[in-house]
C-alpha cells in the first residue's frame, strides 16, 4: 500500500491495543491513499472492530498512533475527526427520531451549512427518501442499515471506515451500496472495509489484508483471483 505517490489520507503506525492482559492488536501499520479501498478479513476476535475503533478515534491505542492527512488523531483536537465516517455494527441512530431527524442532528454535529439538503441527498443516495419521516424504530433491519450508511456518508468524509457494511442488505440494496462505494472511490475517498465475506466488495478493493492474532498475516494489492485468496486465507488463519 505504498506504491502510489499521493500522501496517505489515513495512516496507522504500530497500533497496539490491550485490554488488561489481553493484547488484541500487536503493532498494526497501514497507509490508505485517496481512491484506495483496503479490505480487511480475519477470523472472529482477530481485532478487526478494535482496529476500526482505533482508526476512528473512539478508542485510544495502548501504543502507536493514527494519522489523518499526517496529523495525529488526539482526543483534544476534534477537527481531524471531521474527515472520518464510520459505519459500525451499531447504527448510532435514536429509535424515537425519524431517519431524517437523526441525519439532521448529525448534520448539526458536523456543522453542515445546509443540513436539510445534505440529509435529503444522503437519504436519496441510499434509497431511503420514501421512509425519511419514519421513526427509526419502525424500520426493518435492511432499511436501518441503509439509514446508518446515510448517516456515515452525510458529511462527505474523506475516510470511510466500514464494519461489515453489507449486513442486513438484500441483493438490490447491496448492489446499490457497491455503486455508492465506487462513487466514493472515484471521488478520491479512502476506504477501509472489514468483512467476513470479502467477495461482497472484492471488485472494489484495491488492497487486501488479513488480520490474525492482532497482526497482519497478509497485506498487499488485491490479487485477481478470489478463490486463490480464500485458499491462502484458510491456510493463514486455520493453518
Amino acid at each position: 500500500m505504498t506504491e502510489l505517490a499521493d500522501p496517505p489520507l489515513l495512516s496507522a503506525r504500530g497500533l497496539v491495543r490491550a485490554f488488561g492482559a489481553l493484547q488484541v492488536l500487536r503493532g498494526v501499520t497501514l497507509d490508505v491513499r485517496p481512491g484506495e479501498l483496503l479490505a480487511v478479513a480475519g477470523p472472529n476476535g482477530a481485532g478487526k472492530t478494535t482496529l476500526l475503533r482505533l482508526l476512528a478515534g473512539l478508542m485510544r491505542p495502548s501504543a502507536g498512533e493514527v494519522l489523518i492527512r499526517g496529523q495525529r488523531l488526539t482526543r483534544d483536537d476534534p477537527e481531524p475527526r471531521r474527515a472520518i465516517g464510520l459505519l459500525s455494527h451499531h447504527t448510532f441512530l435514536y429509535d424515537d427520531l425519524t431517519a431524517a431527524e437523526n441525519l439532521l442532528f448529525a448534520a448539526k454535529l458536523y456543522g453542515l451549512r445546509d443540513g436539510a439538503a445534505a440529509t435529503r441527498a444522503a437519504l436519496e443516495e441510499v434509497g431511503l427518501s420514501a421512509r425519511a419521516n419514519t421513526p427509526v424504530r419502525h424500520l426493518s433491519r435492511g432499511l436501518l442499515q441503509r439509514a446508518a450508511i446515510a448517516r456515515a456518508l452525510l458529511h462527505q468524509p474523506d475516510i470511510l471506515l466500514l464494519d461489515e457494511p453489507f449486513t442486513g442488505l438484500d441483493a438490490p440494496s447491496a448492489d446499490r451500496f457497491r455503486t455508492v462505494l465506487a462513487s466514493q472511490l472515484a471521488r478520491g475517498r479512502a476506504l477501509i472495509l472489514v468483512s467476513h465475506h470479502l467477495a461482497e466488495a472484492w471488485e472494489l478493493a484495491t488492497h487486501v489484508a488479513v488480520l490474525a492474532g492482532g497482526r497482519w498475516a497478509l497485506e498487499g494489492k488485491r490479487p485477481a483471483d478470489l478463490t486463490a485468496f480464500h485458499a491462502r486465507y484458510a491456510e493463514l488463519v486455520h493453518g
Binding site: E79, F92, L97, F105, G111, P135
Partner: protein
Amino acid sequence: MAEFLRLAFAIAGKDIRLELRSRTALLSAIVFSALVLVVFNFARDPTAIAAVDLAPSVLWVTFAFGAVIALNRAFYVERENAALDGILLAPVPRSALYVGKLLANLAFVGVVEAVALPLFVLFFNVSIGHALPGILGVTALATIGFVSVGTIFSAMVVRTRFAELMLPVLLLPFMVPPLVGAVQVTSKLLAGRPLSEMVGWLRLLTLYDIGFVTLCILVFPAVVDE
C-alpha cells in the same frame, strides 16, 4: 464560543425532542415526586410539627428524588444503538456535549420542580406567595449545582451494569451541600426572615455552582472518552 453554544443547544434540543416523543422519564419523575409528597403528607403528624417547619425539608427531598429519576435518563438515551459513539465521532468538543446534556437536564428537572411545587403547596397548605420569587431563585441556584454533578455521574455510570442504582449512590452525597443550603434559605424565606440571614447560604450555593460546573466541564472529557 458561538460554535460551542450551537453544538450544546443542538444536543440539548435533541434530548428534549427525544423526551417529548417518549415522555417516559419525565412522566416517571413527575409521578414519583407527587408520590413522595403524598407519602410525606400522610406520614407526618400535624399536631407534633407545624407544616411550615417541615415543609422546606419535604420540598427539597421531593426535588432531589425527582431529579435523580430525571437524571437517570441523561445518558441512557445515548446507549441505544451506541448513539454516544456517534456524537464522540463528530468534531464536537466533549465540553459542548456536557453543557448540552446539562441544559437538557436542567430543563427536565425544572419541569419536575414546576409540577411538584404547586402540589407541595396543595398538600402542605403552606402560603408561599410572599416568598415565591426567593424560592424560585434558590431553586434555580441549588438545581444548577446538583444537576451539574448529576450529569457527569450519569455519564460515568451509563456503561455500568446497574446504572439506575449507581447514580443515586454516587450523587446523593454530593447533593447534601446544595440541599442543606436550599432548605435553610427556604425556611428563612417562608418565615419572612431578612435577606441578610440568608447571604451565607446563598454564597455557598453560588460557589458550589461555579466550582462544580467548572470542574465537571474540565473532567468530562476524561469521563466520556474511553
